[in-house]
């Protein structure tokens, strides 16, 4: 999702998200802690990427799910469909917002986490685990070099605030 989409969310309390970024990869928010695992890669549009060699798993970061609030629906791509880096690969909806999920790399969709059809809340509850969204086959490993490390992602977040 885009930073603009984040801004467009109803009832967001930016003042709660003051940027005291700690190197442990957490953003303290006064109320609860936002997590960003260090071993993942990130995009500026708030997707996380787990490099699994010939494929990657992607999902939405804790920051994104927090902005969207309760996720109600996920629109998945078809298995086997091919997407270019940056293309919209899916859509995630909460009650009052809709946000695109952008493909972090060019590749073919290998698997989709269909359990989210019945339990979209996994994205909120466990964004890096049960809440994974799509697995994509890597076509060009060099593209992964352009993605953000957790430090760079945190840096980009503090700019948004």
């Amino acid at each position: 999702m885009t930073p603009r989409e984040c801004q467009l969310i109803f009832g967001v309390h930016y003042s709660c998200l003051y940027a005291s970024i700690k190197l442990s990869g957490r953003l303290s928010r006064g109320v609860s802690i936002t997590e960003f695992p260090e071993d993942l890669l990130y995009t500026e549009s708030h997707e996380w990427v787990r490099d699994e060699g010939d494929r990657v798993t992607i999902g939405l970061t804790d920051y994104a799910q927090n902005q969207m609030k309760d996720i109600v629906y996920v629109d998945f791509p078809d298995i086997g469909s091919v997407f270019k880096q940056g293309e919209t690969i899916g859509v995630v909806e909460s009650v009052k917002t809709v946000a695109d999920i952008f493909s972090p790399i060019t590749g073919k969709v290998a698997e989709t986490n269909l359990i989210l059809k019945d339990y979209p809340q996994f994205i909120n509850e466990d964004p890096y685990g049960k809440g994974w969204i799509v697995k994509i086959e890597v076509q060009n490993r060099e593209e992964l070099n352009g993605l953000l490390s957790f430090k760079a992602y945190l840096g980009s977040l503090s700019k948004d605030l």
Binding site: Y73, D75, E93, S94, V95, K96, T97, V98
Partner: protein, 449 residues
């Protein structure tokens, strides 16, 4: 003091105190941001204000005379039970806005939920929205939705679909995105020509659109058609303009229709020279996120009590903006309420009896007119409450003759179908008495000599 101030309560004293509180001297100062040269220096050129009694007198003089008529073609003269106007005149229903604050709109929301349910039951579909503007735009939106889902270029549209609905579809569809191909009607039967339809049906077609009963009042037989369309991966869109027919006809949902889009004016909504009417839109559950229009859903509140809210709003313009399923915002809420009350009154037995009465009266008229030399019903397929009459003489002359007897005898079809230039569409409802039909047949006979 002018009478209009009963709608604008401010006294001079009120205005003065408010201006003082704001910190400006006169009302004109509030508009200082508008360049002086653009501000109007003289009053608008409009009639001087009418008092309430004068207004009523003036409007009374603009009314049309109410004549016995056999007019239909998408708008029908049906009985409207007194309870409907009594209930929709309650200001808690008609002076409210869209139910965005559900806690104080449960009346509207529950009524819409009931409406959605009734529309599903009537059409045999799984989900219905809270209404569209009218049957024509509803059908146009159905095509747009089919295109969103299937993505193919062609749409096959029956020529027996209401000609004005077809014009609206043509206006809505972007020729760069979709191509409309007309399927002719079968000349003897009056139904959509299946042969031609199957000839044209291929993998390039996103949807086939047929209206039943169609513009000629003929009941279409969709049995053989829907499976073939699905085999080709297309969608079946069924339209209708006479909702009462579904009191006895098999609902399109049971036949496998994918989208049903039609007109609900027959369900307790006044003719009112063409509007406001009621667009009905229903489809399968699997397509719900592609549906236009508002949706009301059931849920619970903090204390576990059942309640209703607008839901799946992420399809709509105020959230999805440029990627919305439609730009519709205000729809036909109060008309949907009228239909809900109408169907609640008539219910299971009543709607059926109403439909049978329409059918029986139309048949009586058909038989009466079959005795007359010089005119005959032309289509062989079964009809509901409308049928096409062929006249040997000049139809305009015949209608003039009927006018002399203060009867509007039917709708000439030449303006819609040039090949039907000797034909009238005759509509008979439960409101047409036997005596009226007899008089009409008699006058028709006289005028046809």
């Amino acid at each position: 003091m002018e009478d209009f101030i009963r709608y604008i309560p401010h006294t001079e004293e009120d205005a003065r105190r408010m201006l003082e509180a704001i910190g400006v001297e006169k009302i004109e100062d509030l508009f200082a941001i508008i360049p002086k040269e653009l501000r109007l220096s003289k009053p608008l050129s409009l009639p001087k204000p009418f008092s309430e009694p004068d207004l009523i007198r003036h409007l009374e003089g603009l009314q049309s005379p109410v004549l016995s008529n056999f007019l239909g073609g998408g708008a029908y003269h049906h009985f409207i039970p007194a309870v409907i106007s009594a209930l929709v005149s309650r200001s808690e229903f008609y002076t409210t806005y869209t139910p965005y604050q559900p806690e104080i709109s449960q009346g509207t929301l529950q009524a819409i939920f009931e409406f959605q349910t009734l529309m599903c039951q009537l059409t045999g579909m799984e989900v219905s929205n809270a209404s569209m503007y009218d049957g024509a735009s509803s059908l146009a939106e159905a095509l747009l939705m089919a295109h969103r889902i299937i993505g193919r270029k062609k749409v096959l549209l029956s020529q027996a679909v209401h000609p004005e609905y077809r014009k609206v579809i043509q206006t809505y569809i972007d020729p760069d995105q979709q191509e409309i191909v007309l399927i002719p009607y079968q000349k003897g039967e009056g139904r959509t020509d299946e042969r031609v339809l199957f000839d044209l049906l291929d993998g390039d077609v996103s949807a086939v659109v047929i209206q039943s009963p169609n513009f000629f009042g003929v009941i279409e037989d969709l049995h053989g058609i829907i499976d073939r369309i699905h085999q080709q991966g297309g969608l079946m869109i069924v339209g209708f303009s006479e909702a009462i027919a579904y009191g006895i006809l098999k609902p399109p949902g049971e036949l496998g229709a994918d989208i049903v889009a039609g007109e609900g004016q027959s369900l307790g909504i006044p003719l009112s020279y063409g509007g406001p009417y009621l667009g009905i839109f229903a489809t399968r559950n699997s397509f719900v996120r592609n549906m236009p229009g508002r949706l009301v859903g059931e849920t619970i509140d903090l204390e576990g009590k059942r309640g209703f809210v607008l839901t799946l709003a992420t399809r709509e313009q105020h959230i999805r903006r440029e990627r919305a399923t439609s730009n519709i915002c205000t729809n036909e809420g109060l008309c949907a309420l009228m239909a809900t009350i109408f169907l609640s009154c008539f219910g299971r037995e009543g709607l059926r009896e109403l439909a049978v009465m329409n059918l029986s009266k139309a048949e009586y008229a058909k038989r009466a007119v079959s005795q007359i030399k010089g005119c005959r019903p032309i289509f062989s397929s079964p009809t509901f409450n409308e049928f096409v009459l062929e006249i040997d003489g000049d139809p305009d002359k015949v209608l003039k003759g009927l006018r002399k007897e203060k009867i509007l005898g039917g709708l000439p079809l030449a303006r819609f179908y040039p090949e039907l230039n000797h034909h009238l569409l005759i509509t008979v409802t439960e409101m047409t008495t036997k005596e009226e039909i007899d008089r009409w047949a008699e006058a028709l006979e006289k005028a046809s000599r």
